[in-house]
């Protein structure tokens, strides 16, 4: 299924790692941003199907970006991809409306599972 995906992460290597874990046969349209504020602007501009969002970033962190993104589009599917796996961090972002938390480093399996769940949700949500 072709998707429009936004990856927001300050680390170019981290974005590269995540991109390499996306299923190859999907041919997704990928957009990238290097901090929370740039990510928020891109999010509003391109209206992604799925957003991967890091938490620890300069300029605007992922928590603030998540809040703003959900304010702008409460139905947005935002997967928080983070190394911050403290229970309180996970509870916080889930409370703010994150779709799920993807633990770093990503793997093809973990990204594939996350996308399958997102597709299921989007399918139901859009009545497909």
């Amino acid at each position: 299924m072709a998707r429009k995906i936004l990856i927001v992460d300050d680390s170019p290597i981290s974005r590269k790692m995540l991109k390499s874990c996306l299923p190859k046969d999907d041919d997704p349209e990928i957009h990238e941003a290097g901090d929370g504020l740039a990510g928020l602007e891109k999010f509003k501009e391109i209206v992604p199907d799925i957003t991967f969002l890091d938490l620890t970033m300069p300029v605007m962190d992922g928590v603030q970006a998540l809040e703003e993104m959900k304010k702008h589009n409460p139905d947005a599917v935002i997967i928080v991809a983070t190394a911050d796996i403290q229970v309180k961090s996970i509870e916080r972002v889930m409370g703010l409306g994150a779709f799920l938390v993807l633990k770093k480093p990503p793997t093809k399996e973990s990204v594939g599972d996350a996308l399958a769940k997102a597709d299921e949700f989007l399918g139901k949500h859009h009545g497909n």
Binding site: S14, S20, A83, V87, K88
Partner: protein
């Protein structure tokens, strides 16, 4: 004698930064399991330095603290070096109540110092062990550790280890700044690796990235 600075590419630096990010995230989660704490993480910073510049660099980094406490632990494997966890001096007292929240105890000055030292040692042991352990796991190595040593409430100048002047410690410095939210305590973790780890690190980073080509 002029020491040659080891070369590290931007991609290697970025990768090491991401690995440090993952490793410290794991360390924070482990600490949060032991004590009721929330660790605010920051973007890690990687710098390659000549040995003779290292003490000055470290002193500059802790310049805002008039006195510091430091937990130091060495590690050996293909990845070899020292970990230095630096807190402002009063951090130990602030952390004691978190480790032993149920017991409202007053301590005599002597026992307070011991307790402070033990608290810092415990926190340091968890953070350093989990962080270094995760880095080596991601890069395919296993390390052994020296027991942690703690120096409490000293002037930064007095307690930065002299052996850091050793040219062998021409080093990659990996720094992360963190804050224990509830206690408003900040600290630094520096990992300083020896020059002979460099070859292994570069090779391991390349192998790590191969999974993501």
């Amino acid at each position: 004698m002029e020491t040659e600075l080891p070369s590290i590419s931007e991609e290697e630096k970025d990768t090491l930064q991401e690995i440090m990010n993952i490793a410290f995230g794991k360390a924070a989660a482990e600490l949060a399991e032991v004590i009721n704490i929330f660790v605010v993480l920051s973007v890690p910073y990687i710098k390659v330095l000549k040995a003779e510049d290292l003490p000055e660099y470290l002193r500059y980094e802790v310049r805002d603290f008039s006195t510091i406490s430091i937990v130091e632990q060495d590690f050996w494997g293909k990845f070899r070096g020292g970990a230095f966890l630096v807190f402002p001096a009063d951090a130990g007292k602030a952390l004691i109540t978190m480790l032993d929240a149920e017991h409202e105890t007053t301590f005599e000055s002597g026992s307070m110092e011991i307790l402070e030292k033990e608290t810092l040692m415990e926190v340091g042991n968890i953070l350093i062990g989990a962080c270094v352990g995760k880095i080596t796991e991601l890069l395919g190595d296993v390390v052994t550790y020296s027991p942690p040593t703690v120096l409490v409430e000293n002037k930064p100048h007095d307690i930065l280890p002299e052996r850091l002047f050793d040219p062998e410690y021409t080093a990659i410095v990996m720094k992360t700044v963190f804050r224990f939210d509830e206690r408003n305590v900040s600290g630094f973790l520096f990992l300083v690796t020896t020059q002979d780890s460099m070859e292994w690190i570069k090779q391991s980073l390349a192998e790590f990235l191969e999974h993501y080509e």
